[in-house]
């Protein structure tokens, strides 16, 4: 029971981090019809910038703030120099060009910061653990991740559902051409969405930095999972990204922990861990294939999208 509680919390935490990455991706994909494989390296850049700035200032919140500004500037720069020229291109061109960007940034990060993983200390106030009864301890910082993830989700929901900007974003997700014909500067809207999406991914990377190792290529796996999330949830839908992210986070965590126990009945602990890692990851993709097959538009398709 207590093990289940911890695994559910872990799943929730992974799911909320995934949501932060997926939210930006689904908007960029839904509104601009742009497949941005480089979204994962923006997550990575967030983690690296946070590690650097927190190291410089010695203060978590100030470092985090600087990293967020840095990643936003970086995103805008990328949009201006490269992505802007790709919106009208075929998916094939988009996949390739952003794939090239991944190669460049993964290696560039290795050149600047070295190949060894960087560690980021857990901020002082959030060290220690909370007692969850029955002598089960859960780290405070992980609660902070869960809390900030939920907060971001709430802010995002308010912006998208209750503001004029959000209305434009929703309109863009269902029909960008029509929106442009109605006199909205879609280009500017794209830029805002892009900067915001990049910042969310960077925020996820920065928050994950103290509990994961910051290393080149850390964004690749996250990117693929984020695609799974938005495809399951429905492209262009924030609600779908939220549901999909939690689903993927919980299933991945629970399947991993229980398949380790299950495999241990047959093989040794090291082997069980290895096999379970593979099996639980396969499980996620099986789920994705199933959803795509049964509901090609995802579980919560954005309204009016064809």
């Amino acid at each position: 029971m207590s093990l289940l509680a911890i695994q559910v919390l872990n799943g929730l935490q992974l799911g909320l981090l995934m949501f932060l990455v997926a939210a930006g991706l689904t908007l960029v994909f839904g509104v601009m019809d742009f497949i941005n494989l480089a979204h994962g390296v923006q997550y990575m850049m967030g983690a690296y910038l946070a590690a650097t700035f927190i190291g410089w200032t010695g203060h978590f919140v100030i470092g985090l703030g600087m990293a967020l500004i840095g990643i936003m500037v970086f995103g805008l720069l990328l949009e201006r120099v490269m992505f802007r020229h790709l919106y009208a291109r075929s998916h094939l061109d988009q996949v390739l060009a952003t794939f090239g960007l991944i190669l460049f940034l993964n290696q560039g990060v290795k050149m600047v910061w070295g190949a060894a993983p960087l560690g980021v200390p857990v901020p002082e106030w959030f060290q220690g653990s909370v007692l969850l009864g029955d002598g089960i301890l859960y780290p405070v910082y992980r609660f902070v991740i869960i809390g900030s993830g939920l907060l971001m989700a709430l802010v995002l929901w308010l912006v998208v559902e209750k503001t004029r900007l959000g209305m434009l974003v929703r309109a863009g997700a269902s029909n960008a051409t029509m929106l442009s014909a109605l006199g909205v500067d879609v280009r500017k809207l794209f830029m805002v969405i892009f900067a915001f999406g990049t910042m969310l991914a960077g925020f996820a990377g920065a928050m994950a930095a103290p509990i994961l190792s910051v290393e080149p290529g850390m964004g690749d796996q996250v990117l693929i999972l984020a695609f799974v999330v938005i495809v399951i949830g429905g492209i262009g839908s924030i609600r779908g990204a939220f549901a999909g992210a939690l689903l993927v986070g919980l299933i991945d965590t629970l399947a991993r922990s229980y398949s380790v126990d299950f495999m241990r009945l047959f093989v040794g602990p090291a082997a069980a861990r290895g096999i379970a890692n593979g099996l639980s990851s396969m499980f996620i993709y099986l789920l994705m294939a199933l959803v795509l097959f049964l509901r090609p538009d995802g579980l919560f398709p954005s309204r009016g999208r064809t």
Binding site: L92, V95, A97, Q107, D220, I224, V228, G274, A289
Partner: protein, 327 residues
């Protein structure tokens, strides 16, 4: 897919193929004469990946289906071969048909699901299947799991260790590549290829004309998967090592780029593109260990500045010279 891509299997494809094949056939001779033995193994590796790129071009170029999980078939072929070799059943007569059967079966089952979807969903669902194969390889703990598996040796032929000879293995790979290239060129000009091409441009019209588009696409997908499985068989034997990395999604991305460099839909272009890509990689990685910092921007520039690969640039120049005539 934006804009019509002309399929250049007509007039222009004969001489490039002849030059390409002659050049590749002569590599071992030149390498032995100039005592550059490592060329043989390098070129073998390049031809194996060219074979995989060629197989992708059948569904991507002619079929218009952007598969982002093509490396899975290489991985399946390689793992089938690797496991059979480790179990002492690695003879070519067992390992080759098994590799083809496993990759073909995987293509058949995943194709039935994936080919019912369109556009972005197809890209994502093939990516999902590719990732499944990748993680399945990782879960094979008894065969190395994450770290991969070093093989005891190469496949035997009727119990003879023929393939251990570099030159013999080179010509086996060469024969596979040339054979598949000719096969696919013939197929693309036959009714099968025409229907596939027609379905790329207008699937509804092909349906209305009475063709079973789904079946033709599935056949192409299975054939493509089997050729990639053949590449996997060769790769396992060549490197005497198998690893989940063979099936990684980055590898699928590499394959797409190889097809693009050569020009989508041009079969010899896929082979040329793969060779260009790998030579570039080899040259740049000899220059600096951070070669990807140069390679990445090259890809981006290539996409931004050209439409439809080298083949497309050539075609456009030719069209302009001919007074803007389109074929």
């Amino acid at each position: 897919m934006s804009g019509p891509v002309t399929l250049s299997t007509k007039r222009s494809s004969f001489w490039p193929v002849v030059v390409l094949c002659l050049g590749l056939a002569l590599v071992p001779v030149v390498a032995v004469l100039t005592k550059q033995g490592h060329w043989v193994s390098l070129t073998t590796q390049m031809m194996i990946l060219a074979l995989a790129a060629l197989s992708l071009d059948l569904i991507l170029g002619i079929g218009g289906l952007l598969s982002f999980g093509h490396a899975a078939f290489i991985g399946l072929g390689a793992y089938t071969t690797g496991i059979l070799i480790q179990e002492g059943k690695g003879d070519l007569l067992i390992a080759l048909p098994m590799s083809l059967a496993v990759s073909g079966l995987f293509a058949f089952v995943t194709g039935i699901v994936a080919l019912r979807t369109r556009g972005v969903v197809f890209i994502m669902i093939t990516l999902a299947f590719g990732q499944m194969a990748f993680f399945a390889a990782q879960a094979l703990y008894a065969y190395g799991g994450d770290d991969g598996l070093t093989l005891d040796g190469r496949s035997t032929v009727f119990g003879l260790k023929l393939l251990s000879n570099k030159i013999v293995f080179y010509y086996l790979t060469f024969a596979c590549l040339a054979g598949c290239l000719l096969l696919l060129q013939r197929l693309s000009r036959a009714r099968f290829g025409r229907v596939l091409l027609g379905a790329r441009d207008n699937a509804v019209r092909m349906e209305t004309l009475g063709y079973d588009v789904f079946r033709v696409r599935l056949m192409a997908y299975v054939l493509s998967g089997m050729i990639a499985g053949l590449a996997g068989f060769l790769l396992a034997n060549h490197t005497e090592f198998v690893s989940p990395a063979y099936a990684a999604w980055q590898r699928s991305g590499d394959l797409i780029f190889m097809v693009i460099i050569g020009g989508v839909g041009s079969l010899w272009g896929a082979v040329g593109g793969a060779l260009t890509y790998l030579l570039l990689e080899e040259g740049l990685s000899g220059l600096t260990e951070h070669w990807k910092v140069i390679f990445g921007p090259l890809i981006i520039l290539f996409v931004l500045l050209t439409h439809g690969g080298i083949d497309g640039v050539v075609a456009r120049v030719r069209d302009r010279l001919a007074g803007g005539r389109h074929d």
